[in-house]
Amino acid sequence: MFLHVPGSESFASQTPDHDGLRTEIGEKVGLHTVTDEQVAALDPLTYEVIRHRLWSITDDMGSTLRRMSGSHMVTEANDFDFTINDEVGREAQVGLYNTMLVGAIDMAIDWILRNRADNPGIADGDMFLCNDPWVGGGLHQNDVLITQPIFVGDELFGWTAAVCHEPDLGGPNPGSGSTSADDVFGESLPTPPVRVVHGFEIQRDVADVWVRRSRVPHIVGLDLRAKVGANLTGRRRLLDTIEKYGADTVKAVMRRMMDDAEKRLRDKLHAVPDGTWSAEGYQDQAKLGDTGTHRISVTMSKANDHLTFDFTGTDPQTGVINCTFGGLRGAIMMAVLPTLASDIPWSAGGIMRCFDIVSEPGTINNATFPAAISRAPVGPAWLTGTLITQCLSAMLGTAEEPPGPVNAACCGTWEGLSVAGLDERDGAGTPFLYSAMDPMAGGFGAAPDADGVDTGGLLCIPMGRSPDVEMTEYLYPVLSLWRKELPDSGGPGRHRGGVSAGLALTPHGTSAQMRIGFAASGKATSQNPGLSGGYPGSTGYDGVVRGTRLEQLLAAGRLPTELDQLGGDLDPGGCFDVKFIGPGDVVYLQWQGGGGYGDPLLRVPESVAEDVLNGHVTPQAASAIYGVVLDDDGEADLGATAELRERLRAERVGRDRTTRKPESRPETQIGKPLDDNLDRLPDDTIACRHCATALGSAGEPLTVELIEAPPAAAGPHIGTNPELYIDAQVGFRQHVCPGCGVALRSTVGPLSASSVLHAVGAQNAG
């Protein structure tokens, strides 16, 4: 239950209404604008020269920020971004780092214009700081925006903005996250826009108020300067450009960049069939002690050149797994930019015009004040982005020549591990706290023509980076027993999802208890689904091992590299959990791989053999999931493999043998491909692409076999004990072609979810 806080509405930004804004503040601040005629009159040469320069300026801002920041999340994980915006805040060019932030920055500028224009005013030499996710600028309180108005004469020409993740901004827990807060008052306090720079000087009073709240004021102070520096870099370069080409010309280019991005995105949407796609996913546990599972639903409709994202059916806000409307927009941008805009300039202001949002306030991905939101980016926003990526991939997959990448889901959450204790290596004993950045190495999802990238990273931070073990061991009193890629963690499929990795740490250089915080949803239900019958990637799994034989092993010259070599008992961590360990104990963490694409029984057997050789797939999974029989040399035995695969497909349809072979489709029966397995024939029949069995009609539920089994049936990479985390019954569900037994959809989720399979008109995206 959340109590409504009267007065909080004035901080709740919605999709910016630029025309309304102009009317509202036109008298208070002179806005620099250009006419449509000026935009149309740009010559190709001038446009390209200035466009390139604006890109170069944005890039400079990013380099400045990255070099100057002292925050691990920025320097090691690239959790930051930056933009150049027009006079009303529309983003003309954005950086390539945390793409979710892009969805929130323009909201904050809009809010500043509406609420700061007359008091304290918006003037040349000012910068505003904001970490209020309801206002915008970031997804949770750790995302801190500094934005700067740029004036040409008396007129407001535009804005630059820089956001980065700060390591700690106060609140009850180190790192400012909370796994147990009832609401935002149990987290770090949001700060609406304050004027931190005035007359080009950092205002010492404001800066002091700002850093005072933090457990690491020096780093927050350094980052404040980094963001001020990035904005100043942007300002200087932008004004140089304006001086050379004139404000009107530069603004016309900014307008056309956004128009161009919009037009090109619309052209792409035009090129794919209209339709509706839906997906749903879950947050396991809402907070410490909760055993529920909480749904996010999205139905995406594409009509002509426009998208609508409808989140109706999403559960009410609860626990600590909520995000604001800015988080929801960020989730959409995280999905849209890499799938639909990979070859379109990231003039996000134009891209955002191509979609509408339908969402009910008070739900977990559109939470109202005072919901707890510190986990917004890593929980609800991320999952929302993953689900939208699934819908977009399914949509693109129905085009004969997809105008963007079709890709199964990538690692679906941040596997949070925080470690706190006393570093005794200096003799004195110094408290330390850190968040492991290693889970950056998530698996990427597979595509119709390629496996997912192993330990490829995280889609929401495309340029994320995991640290070197030596850096971690230098900074903190731990010894890394292993950090390695995990076999079978990539979702099985015709193309395999990228594998993830896992690590084990033991205290080293400290005799005190260490506080271990775990925070990650997605341990019971899958947040990294496959596509077209591909399986989800691995679920997360964490815990601590106490009573190990580690000390004896090390003394005896042995170095354990597997959990079962440690001895002792593994105490699994909940989705949100705190454990304490001492010397000789071990903390273990493994994160999510990428989803697979297509039925694993259709994977080229030689590729499976190679995966086994490289340790990406175990021999057990090669046989049970991929149906590949390896000979003594580790080569695929093609004859035996064909037999085994036929048997496995027959088992799926509950018979001794299948009625049709996957390759038995007559040449004449070819329709339009809907995905890896389904064709739409001219008479709207949906048929199996492999064996031509008719499965139903477009728009109606398909008639297929449905297998329901315990989660373990999905493979060794799926957690076998969902009851450790949630009450709901979880299972592996597979929709199968009744003719040839090829898997059409393979999911791990609550069995209470709908089991109906649609192909067209509300196609299940995954």
């Binding site: 490829g456 980076r465 900074l475």
Partner: protein, 696 residues
């Protein structure tokens, strides 16, 4: 007479320069002869000897210094034509080489690929997993042994790899730079189990914290080490047989040379030798002409390389990227900022003109080459504009087809944009110039400097047609096109003049203030190492200079700033001066008051560069003073500003003498390039024959 010889072995051509003690400089060019490049080298040397009316043995017998840069190691790495190596690392951490800190997916990829993460791929693994073995041993961050080396299992792993046919071993253990005991013992085991195998230890190749880059560096060094050893051994033997009496020197990424016998042990240091030749040549020229700040631009058909000289010293870096892997190697910083003359012009889906980043490859090349290229390039635009002569390049040896260039531009750019062919060509030329200026500005500004304090040097075949425009847009003080004695082999000239340089480094991360005793001990070690290696160079070194550096950073920053530390006793005061200098450098890069000492400072890596100067110092000869006005050798219509073509003077560079003035618009034709002097520029030939252009 005695000679200084520089040889630059590129993928296609081998350039050689010989400078005589009489001040004359001659150059020669011969096709490279992979896989054994010595054929091309001997050929180029023979051509040099002829120009002095000597036989090759006579030339070599009188050679006082012979310096050589090779691209073969870099090519082998980039093309992945390297022999199998075995990789040994600490148990539990083999996968560092495959996880690649995630950044292996995007490191070093061009900008347009960065926003397409779902199509990015990691490169092929540096070592296949079957040749990577985990060794039971563990050392901690303090250098203490946690688990002793399991020699029995290590021997077994070594034998397995030996039997699998590896030709070299790379060993990179966690914290080996802190305590190299286990790595050294493993080398002994390899010497016993696989005698004669090449072995690279991370504690010797790259004793720097961060295991992934250190391992990648060590593996790459072991991949090219044996090949380099064989190649240099053969070449030196051959040259000695032919009469060479001095040691063969090999250029390194650092811009200094080492003897061929020393180079293979840390083979990776030679990997950028050809890239840096141009910067070293620019440095020679800058010093001889008294210029302190230079942006050196080297533009070829497919590459655009940029190096910086600041306050008379080249800007250095401590690492580079090869095949999406970070590589620790002290280098002159060379930025590859885009494509050269082959940059493709195209119209994107939004109907906008774009130039680059894709570039026509050497084959088929620009449309005007007539080898089947259909897409217009910057070179095609330059031909249509009249900048390039219709009779072709290289004095007519490479004919160009204006018709094909016009067709490509009209079809692919002009028509879609509604522009005439000439207008479209002018737009391509202008966009290329402006983008170049943007990218150059980034390089200069990011290193903390202001372009208006710099001279731009432009060399390479495709630079001088654009340099005046991009230098003016950049706001540089002047632009210099080297047209004197070394015009044809600028990079080889740089190699010829290179000093001897050896470097040693080691990470010892520590918070500041540093302990002077601990720091002094590190520098004692490093300096002893550097001095003994300098002594092994077998050259009579006229003077030696040792320079100390510390890589410093604030708090948890990712990037460190390399900061000089004064020679002499290491004291609390000298270390404090070093920190002050760090803050000065930091603020120059990031702006005033951006430093923030309260966040804490860390020292990470300590380094010593030893430079030995050989007695033979290279100077470019004077070209002779003009005794008459320079006469145009031709006139042709050229379009430089998007308006109608105007009749423009064309000059032959061979006639240029000191004091000649060329006012724009004008064209200067050189065998290997074409120089544009725009209407807004004034050109003057200096004493060495360089064309110096200023604006406004």
């Amino acid at each position: 007479m005695s000679f200084v010889i520089g040889v630059d072995v590129g993928g296609t051509f081998t350039d050689a320069v010989a400078a005589g003690s009489d001040g004359r400089v001659v150059s020669a060019k011969a096709p490279s002869t992979p896989p054994d490049y010595s054929g091309g080298i001997i050929e180029a040397l023979t051509l040099l000897a002829k120009q002095w009316n000597l036989t090759l043995p006579e030339l070599l017998a009188d050679t006082a210094k012979f310096s050589h840069g090779t691209t073969s190691s870099l090519n082998a790495l980039v093309m992945r034509k390297v022999p199998p190596v075995g990789y040994l690392t600490t148990a539990g951490h083999r996968d560092a080489l495959y996880i690649m800190n995630v950044e292996g997916r995007y490191l070093g990829r061009p900008q347009h690929e960065l926003q397409d993460p779902l199509r990015q791929r990691k490169p092929e693994p540096l070592v296949p997993r079957r040749l990577a073995r985990e060794i039971v041993e563990r050392i901690d961050s303090a250098g203490r042994i946690v688990v002793a080396l399991d020699e029995v299992r290590a021997r077994r792993a070594i034998r397995e790899l030996r039997d699998a046919g590896v030709s070299a071993f790379a060993i990179s253990l966690l914290w080996a730079f802190r305590n190299p005991l286990h790595e050294r013992r493993l080398k002994e085991l390899i010497d016993e189990e696989a005698p004669g195998a090449y072995v690279a230890l991370s504690s010797e190749v790259s004793p720097r914290i961060r295991e992934f880059a250190r391992a990648a560096t060590t593996v790459m060094s072991s991949q090219i080490g044996p090949g380099l050893r064989d190649y240099l051994g053969r070449l030196e033997t051959r040259l000695t047989e032919l009469g060479l009496r001095v040691p063969l020197l090999v250029m390194q990424s650092s811009g200094g040379a080492v003897t061929a016998t020393e180079a293979p042990a840390t083979a990776i240091t030679t990997v950028g030798s050809v890239l840096t030749g141009g910067v070293v040549g620019a440095l020679r020229l800058a010093r001889q002409t008294g210029r302190r700040n230079v942006i050196a631009t080297d533009v070829g058909g497919t590459t655009f390389l940029v190096g910086l000289i600041v306050d008379g010293e080249p800007v250095r870096t401590t690492s580079t990227i090869i095949n999406q892997h970070p590589v620790n190697v002290p280098s002159l910083q060379v930025h590859a900022i885009g494509s050269g003359g082959g940059a493709l012009a195209w119209v994107d889906q939004g109907g906008h003109l774009r130039v680059g980043p894709l570039s026509a490859q050497a084959v088929p090349g620009p449309a005007c080459y007539g080898h089947g290229g259909l897409e217009p390039t910057v070179t095609d635009a330059n031909l249509v504009l009249g900048i390039l002569p219709e009779r072709g390049l290289l004095g007519g040896r490479r004919p160009l087809s204006r018709e094909l260039a016009e067709k490509a531009i009209a079809e692919r750019v002009g028509r879609p944009l509604g522009l005439g062919t000439l207008e479209a060509a002018a737009a391509i030329h202008a966009v290329q110039n402006a983008q170049t200026a943007d990218l150059l500005r980034k390089v200069v500004v990011e290193s903390g400097h202001d372009p208006q304090d710099f001279s731009v040097f432009a060399f390479g075949g495709a630079g001088p047609a654009h340099c005046a425009a991009y230098a003016a847009d950049l706001g540089a003080r002047e632009v210099v096109v080297p047209l004197g004695g070394a015009a044809a082999g600028f990079s080889a000239f740089g190699l010829a003049g290179a000093d001897i340089m050896v470097s040693a480094e080691r990470s010892d991360p520590q918070p500041c203030p540093m302990d002077p005793g601990r720091v002094a001990a590190i520098f004692d070690d490093l300096e002893r190492d550097v001095r003994s290696r300098l002594a092994r160079q077998g050259e009579a070194l006229e003077e030696q200079e040792l320079r100390r550096e510390i890589d410093l950073r604030y708090s948890l920053q990712l990037s460190e700033v390399t900061t000089p530390l004064a020679a002499g006793p290491v004291t609390t005061a000298s270390l404090e001066d070093c920190l002050t200098e760090f803050e000065r450098l930091y603020q120059r890069m990031h702006g005033e008051n951006t430093g923030f000492r309260q966040a804490g400072m860390f020292a990470v890596t300590f380094r010593v560069h030893g430079v030995g100067r050989t007695p033979q110092q290279l100077r470019l000869p004077d070209i002779g003073t003009a005794d008459s006005e320079l006469a145009a050798s031709a006139r042709r219509p050229v379009c430089l500003d998007g308006t109608d073509p105007i009749e423009t003077d064309v000059y032959d560079y061979r006639l240029l003498r000191a004091g000649h003035r060329i006012n724009g618009p004008a064209i200067v034709e050189v065998d290997t390039t074409t120089v544009v002097v725009p209407a807004t520029a004034r050109g003057e030939v200096d004493a060495l024959g360089n064309l110096v252009m200023t604006f406004g």
